[in-house]
Symmetry: C2
Subunit: 205 residues, 2 copies
């Protein structure tokens, strides 16, 4: 009942997010999580009921925010007239990359997200689909008006490609090493490259 910032529940969520990201859902044990959060082992089951519920909670909290950020950014991009393709793409890409900078400055969540895609777990897949579906549709609709030469099916193909590249970049998987650049600078650079590349890909044909 305590909405405090450093409550037991919140500390568990933070530690779980970081450990799930680095070791996976199966690979990170509750003992690691509770030890890192400096709470008792039983606290997870007390506050969340089970490990699976904890996993879902970690995902849900972040996804809700990402979806809200993307939706808001899309509306802002569409407010300008004429709307620019780069701005709509930015509304899809930048909130996702920004999500990597949580309170602790870690990239935990995005690695979790990328990992969740890799989990064949159907419950997680459909969970993602249910939470992402309508946002993806909104973006595809917006892109459709900007790119009238592409039909719906073709737009979904290209959004698939963009989302793949974005997911990959979110988790900082690539070979690109940021030398001297701060995390924010690197993130900005990544966003610019993604938007530039994706714009050309979308305008093709």
């Amino acid at each position: 009942m305590n909405p405090e910032l450093f409550s037991t529940k919140q500390r568990i969520l933070d530690a779980a997010e970081a450990l799930f990201a680095s070791h996976g859902f199966a690979g990170a044990s509750l003992r690691q999580v509770t030890s890192s959060a400096q709470v008792n082992l039983a606290a997870v089951n007390y506050h969340f009921g089970s490990k699976e519920n904890l996993i879902n909670e970690v995902l849900r909290l972040r996804l809700d925010k990402l979806n809200a950020d993307r939706t808001q950014a899309l509306q802002a991009a569409l407010a300008k007239s004429p709307a620019q393709l780069e701005d709509v793409l930015g509304a899809w890409i930048r909130p996702a990359l920004a999500a990597s900078a949580n309170e602790k400055g870690s990239t935990a969540f995005v690695r979790i997200l990328a990992r969740t895609y890799a989990e064949q777990n159907e419950r997680l897949r459909s969970f993602l689909h249910d939470n992402y579906g309508h946002v993806l549709r909104d973006f595809t609709t917006a892109l459709g008006t900007l790119l009238p030469h592409l039909d719906k099916q073709e737009l979904y193909w290209r959004m698939d490609i963009i989302t793949g590249a974005l997911t990959f970049a979110m988790a900082d998987f690539g070979a690109i090493k940021r030398r001297g650049a701060s995390a924010e600078q690197h993130r900005e650079l990544t966003a610019d490259h993604l938007i530039h590349f994706a714009s050309a890909g979308l305008r093709a044909k």
Copy 2:
């Protein structure tokens, strides 16, 4: 010592590949693997020494083939003159997508690969880097001569983006559903879209 197709060792490799893909390295137990392979539990430690060695073996076998296929396809693409950007891209993309069609027609390996990217495990990361590094360099060099307006650093950025989209597509993560199309048809369609999109992205600016 038996190179038989259905030897204990091979059955373990096949079962491990499928189970690692669907449940992750930590999530798939040796009991699941040996049960699925219909061999004794101790067989894994007898033939591979440990679970970690089994993981490495599963990855190594597939990566060796993928690297060889890509290198060969690149040479074929460069043999034509003038070399075409789409052909070089195809040499990077098509062998990776084709790797999804193993003997059992499953997409196990590529999901493993995608999952490996998501594993923060540094040993696996460097393992991948050591096996992929020189092939990636060869492709970047080839692309550099075709795209003289892009410097080395910019090429790595764009190859990062392409590889991300490819990895995503390899694991069949996207929202695109193949309706009625066979796996091969879908793979061809995916390759065509990726190559088309990436060509435009690479030629940009």
